[in-house]
Amino acid sequence: MVTTEAEARAAQPILQLRAIEKVFDQFAAVDRITLDIQEGEFFTIVGPSGSGKTTMVRMLVGMDKPTRGDILLRGQRINDVPANKRPTCMVFQSLALFPHRTVGQNIEFPLKIRGVDPAARKKRALELLAQLRLPDHYYGKAVTQCSGGERQRVALARALAFDPEILFFDEPLSALDYKLRKVLEKELKDIHRQTGKTFVYITHSLEEAMVMSDRIGVMNRGRFVQVGTPNEIYGSPTTRFVSEFMGEVNILDVTVGPDGTATDDVTGARYLVPPSAGAGPCSLVIRPESLRFVDGPSQAHNVVTGTVYNEYLLGSRVQYQIRVGEKQVLLLENLRDQRYEGDLDSPVTVGWDTGDSMIFPKGPLQ
């Protein structure tokens, strides 16, 4: 739904990147990226460490200047506008709350800088405390006395205080424990809805990106490997890199013959695969949840026999390690109520359907 709204406004993107590049000592940390971000969108940049995502956001905020290329805000080139003159704001990974200021003073900081009078400042700070569900008396509390989640909210309130047009987030949740992170992910998405502002979020966790984003851009080696809605990224990754990024997957080295079937490079087995761009060496990717235990070849497009080596309980799901021959290991994931009943080390047949597998030619861009 949010996507359609964003599409409706696609005529005028709020932020446009035109072939921006950042070079450090001849190494392109961000390599000619072109991207449009729509007004009101929650856009997440996902990538492993060193993929260039932090470099990129630093340029968008105005902390660094691109070596080449242009950044446009509502059609205006802003390359040379420093961070303190841009109507955008960032929530830092460390949050960068000022330890010598109280919660209230932190939130009021951007307003004080802009010469807003104390009464109006305080009013706005209290408003933001309420919006972020922090009690009023936190106004005078020392930031050093706040818990992780509270600090997170204070940082967000401070960023929202001067009503910036775009909010950037540089992995602000990465230092928190799993449970709190899950709560705050949802809270952040709610705040996004409440404020209707454009959010640009950076994370190394595709899982986190999935929860919150309207669109996701997966970055690797300074470039976007794929940009799309969470559904597209999960359902139809365009490269092996993206397919691997979501979590554990089975990757088989195969060779696709002229007849369109694939031969396993390790076991020599033949598989039916989805139609791919070319023949030759490819990676066949199957998610663990696409694999299932079967009784015989008739129950799935492709079957393999092996032995169950171990079982791992993952809460609502359960995972199995299947050994095929000497060298191949496959992961199979089931719901907990579909647990495997047999003994460890006993022979099993597992299978998957062609439509549940993905095939990517091997090449330099994986």
Partner: protein, 307 residues
């Protein structure tokens, strides 16, 4: 083997637990921290606390006495204030305050540049600034004397190369102040460098991103967060400069008498220990009050440990 070691550890732990727990101050004394602190603590007691207490005791003894077993009196303090001996004390405070102010203004941009602009070579720069502390300060002041004296490097060069005749630049109050600034500059610079290095880069960036100008970043973030370092530097410079001995003597001639010179005279030539002690007490009071006020507000773990 690994198993055997494990058993040994367990046995040791059990025995330790089985031993009767000592109580009160004996338990406190057995802590690793107390044990390791003990030698230094004893040195401080015997070499710093005791001598200063003795000085305080002597300050209340009758003039010219050499024992602390006489009835206490305020005679020494009365004499100091009656015969304007306090002038050297005031001069010391004035010169120390001026030194601190000058060093602060000079050192902040230098420390900032060393940490933020030339951070890559900060180690080398810091070493270059420390190295002079390993040369006796009176020797370095002799160097300045040769530089500034009439016919010395400065006036000689001006005369020979530019034909400008200058008088001696020594033996004035300004020369003393110059010497103080020179000697105590590193004592201001170092803590300042530590203080500025303590300010996380992200704090400055966040302030900047929230709309602060460079000046506002300096005022709102840089200086308040570097304050522990700045305060320690200021305190050290002030106290050390107030107790300076060589600077007024070598560069100042007899243009100004500072308190350390007066104390020395009483203790040595005049052999009036109680009066020397009373003058020292003034110094101890200033140093003590400043040091205690400041150290109460500062977390040393944060400064030395970067935590």
């Amino acid at each position: 083997m690994a198993q055997a070691t494990g058993i040994v550890t367990i046995t040791a732990a059990t025995t330790a637990r089985a031993a009767p727990e000592p109580s009160g101050w004996r338990a406190w004394l057995r802590q690793a921290g107390v044990l390791t602190a003990l030698p230094m603590a004893l040195l401080m007691l015997a070499g710093f606390v005791a001598p200063l207490l003795l000085v305080v005791a002597f300050a209340f003894m009758p003039p010219q006495s050499f024992s602390i077993l006489q009835p206490p009196t305020l005679a020494n303090f009365q004499e100091i204030f009656a015969n304007s001996f306090y002038r050297s004390f005031l001069a010391s405070l004035y010169l120390a305050a001026a030194t601190t102010l000058i060093c602060m203004v000079v050192c902040y941009p230098v420390a900032y540049a060393m940490v933020r602009v030339f951070g890559r070579v900060a180690g080398v720069l810091a070493l270059l600034i420390t190295a002079p502390l390993f040369v006796a300060d009176n020797l370095r002041l002799v160097g300045w004397m040769l530089f500034l004296v009439k016919g010395g490097v400065l006036s000689g060069a001006l005369q020979a190369w530019f034909g400008i005749a200058t008088d001696s630049m020594l033996y004035t109050v300004s020369a003393t102040l110059f010497g103080l600034v020179y000697t105590y500059l590193p004592f201001m610079l170092f803590p300042m460098i530590m203080g500025i290095a303590m300010v996380p880069l992200e704090m400055r960036e966040a302030a900047f991103d929230l709309g602060a100008t460079r000046w506002q970043v300096l005022k709102e973030v840089d200086i308040p967060l570097a304050m522990p370092g700045i305060l320690i530097g200021a305190l050290m410079t002030f106290i050390l400069a107030a107790g300076a001995l060589s600077e007024p003597r070598i560069l100042g001639g007899s243009s100004v008498v500072m308190i350390a010179q007066d104390i020395q005279n009483e203790f040595t030539f005049a052999q009036n220990w109680p009066k020397g002690s009373a003058l020292s007490v003034l110094m101890i009071l200033v140093a003590g009050v400043l040091a205690v006020t400041l150290l109460r507000r500062i977390d040393l773990d944060g400064i030395f440990g970067r935590r």
